[in-house]
Point group: C2
DNA sequence: CTGAAAGCGCTTACAG
DNA sequence: CTGAAAGCGCTTACAG
């Protein structure tokens, strides 16, 4: 393409390419009239610096990588929107990559992609944010990383997250306040740190309320609708059943809801069901789900803000950049008095 | 980063950089032993060509743009997974961009992003695949485009899609075969070509079956759950109500389902509800939705295959590259005899 | 405050 | 079949 280059602008403005470069990068030491004149020519010609040339000469790239285990999850979509919007704001672009651990040589392949693209930084989403092979790889290549949704910050990377533990405690307290004593908890995929923290929050809140938790009332599941439905079936089949079920995410809560519907158990009259995430599906159910709002878009935006900060890449210890954002309890119609 | 460059490989292999380049690009005219030797060194050193340098010198980039109106939709997630996987396969990377028409200067901003990144090609998703300002922009810059889900192919771009019209006819025929005569259709957002084609399929199937379609039984909606629920409320409030409702997508069908649940209308006993898309949510409802399966991942993969074909960029008329993939009827439990 | 030279890591012509 | 030269569009030192 006959795109306009820095030389074209320089010629048209009667200055050197270097001066144009200074103007484009908002560097100091350009007299105001010169700057304005150059800016006018830039606008006239529709000049936009070539990102590849910039990256090559400055060895700093304008591409940020967003790495997913499962880019097709509802969670991923929200995160992405926040990240894209923020990248655009900073003049960066978002490259989305998938890390599929089941593929032979996945780590090498990821490393390759990295080197080829010379990414300015990387956002790691759950659960891959907790894979140390990956974080080690980035550390070794000197690529700044921010972990989204992990709780284990460290010298090599900041984390951006909500307090899953406290949120789960709050939700459990809410159920207890409603008069529930027989409360079950459907666990998320144990490879996710968030699943473990939510469970801990539930358990501690129950203990604090002086309530027993039967082992078979904290069934293991894996964050999918199907696993939630199976857990619901097991929990609700017995005559001796809980009066409230707290699922570690909304999809599983929906599964519990369907299980209850099939068994003709009225929600919230005979059973309260609550979730976690405030995913779009939490509103597409009947009754709508009481849940914890997690600001995924804002969390993602925060990871980008950290990554584009030049000081972050240099920092001795990056932990200090970590951000915790507030969550919210969303009380809808799937929970009620015991 | 002290990444290994083509020079390092050349030195270690005792050949010129040009020879290494030839090997990396699988060009002809390299003797087998030399090729193998170079390949060995490449593996040893973990060499990976720098994408920016490649793009700059060859003026062909390895970045493909995936443009969305709403990157947070469930649809977007599926599409993305297919596209990412296929890009990786071809040695390309996927840059996800959002086109927000409500932002002042959106077209210029998009053009800027384009020029900076020097994209090898672009995938346009619905509904932006039908925005001619956008396709004109790409055509003018000489950037190959493939439209996903549009039906209006043209000289400047191929389309990859299913036959929405035929699928909607099939679904309507299914309802008619079940004995339904009083069938309503909840329309999708009219700015989407697919919404119009699905409506046309419904109308033609009804006409072919000799069935009348009341104007107030084809309510306008916009593909959202909320709009589907509103349409359901309007349709089901009257005593004189339809026995089947066909919603132009699954989210709206879910809305109809919730509307029915609140009015205590049993599905599928007293009302059949069917959707379109086979979105993940179609299985998270009770009863599960009868719907049309649209292979989003495969459709997306097909767009990438077209874009990486060098012949496509050169082609006089690109229409010939268009692909139509088969859809499927998924009969689940939300539909039954009238 | 401004600019001329050199170079980032590749590939494109052009030689041989 | 292989290589030396030039250049892609910028920015990084260095001068002045």
């Amino acid at each position: 393409m006959n795109a306009v280059t820095i030389k074209d602008v320089a010629r048209a403005a009667g200055v050197s390419p270097k001066t144009v470069s200074r103007v484009m990068n908002a560097e100091a030491h350009v007299r105001a009239p010169v700057r304005e004149h150059v800016l006018r020519i830039v606008a006239e010609l529709g000049y936009r610096p070539n990102a590849h040339a910039r990256s090559l000469s400055s060895s700093r790239s304008f591409l940020i990588g967003l790495f997913f285990d499962d880019p097709a999850s509802g969670y991923a979509a929200d995160v992405q929107l926040g990240a894209i919007t923020r990248c655009r704001h900073h003049g960066y672009h978002l490259v989305v990559e998938r890390v599929d651990r089941s593929v032979e040589g996945w780590l090498e392949e990821t490393a390759s992609a990295l080197q080829a693209l010379d990414l300015a930084g990387v956002v790691l989403t759950p659960p891959i944010c907790d894979w140390t092979e990956l974080t080690d790889l980035f550390a070794q290549r000197g690529i700044p990383v921010v972990k989204l949704g992990s709780s284990t910050a460290g010298p090599v990377s900041a984390v951006v997250h909500i307090d899953d533990y406290a949120a789960a405690r709050d939700m459990t307290d809410h159920l207890v306040a409603l008069g529930h004593r027989r409360i079950a908890f459907v666990q998320g995929n144990a490879t996710h740190g968030a699943a473990r923290r939510r469970l801990a929050g539930f358990q501690d809140a129950m203990a604090a309320a002086g309530l027993d938790v039967r082992a078979d009332w904290i069934p293991a599941a894996d964050f999918t609708f199907r696993s939630g439905m199976a857990a619901g079936d097991a929990l609700l089949a017995a005559t001796d059943r809980p009066t409230a079920i707290f699922a570690a995410n909304d999809e599983m809560a929906l599964g519990v809801l369907v299980s209850a519907a099939r068994l003709d158990i009225a929600v919230p009259k005979s059973l309260s069901v609550v979730g976690f995430d405030d995913a779009p599906v939490s509103r597409m159910a009947w009754p709508q789900l009481t849940t914890i709002r997690q600001p995924n878009g804002e969390l993602a935006a925060a990871t980008i803000d950290i990554l584009v900060d030049p000081a972050y890449a240099q920092a001795e210890t990056r932990d200090g950049y970590s951000v915790e954002l507030p969550y919210g309890m969303i009380e809808r119609s799937s929970s009620g008095p015991a």
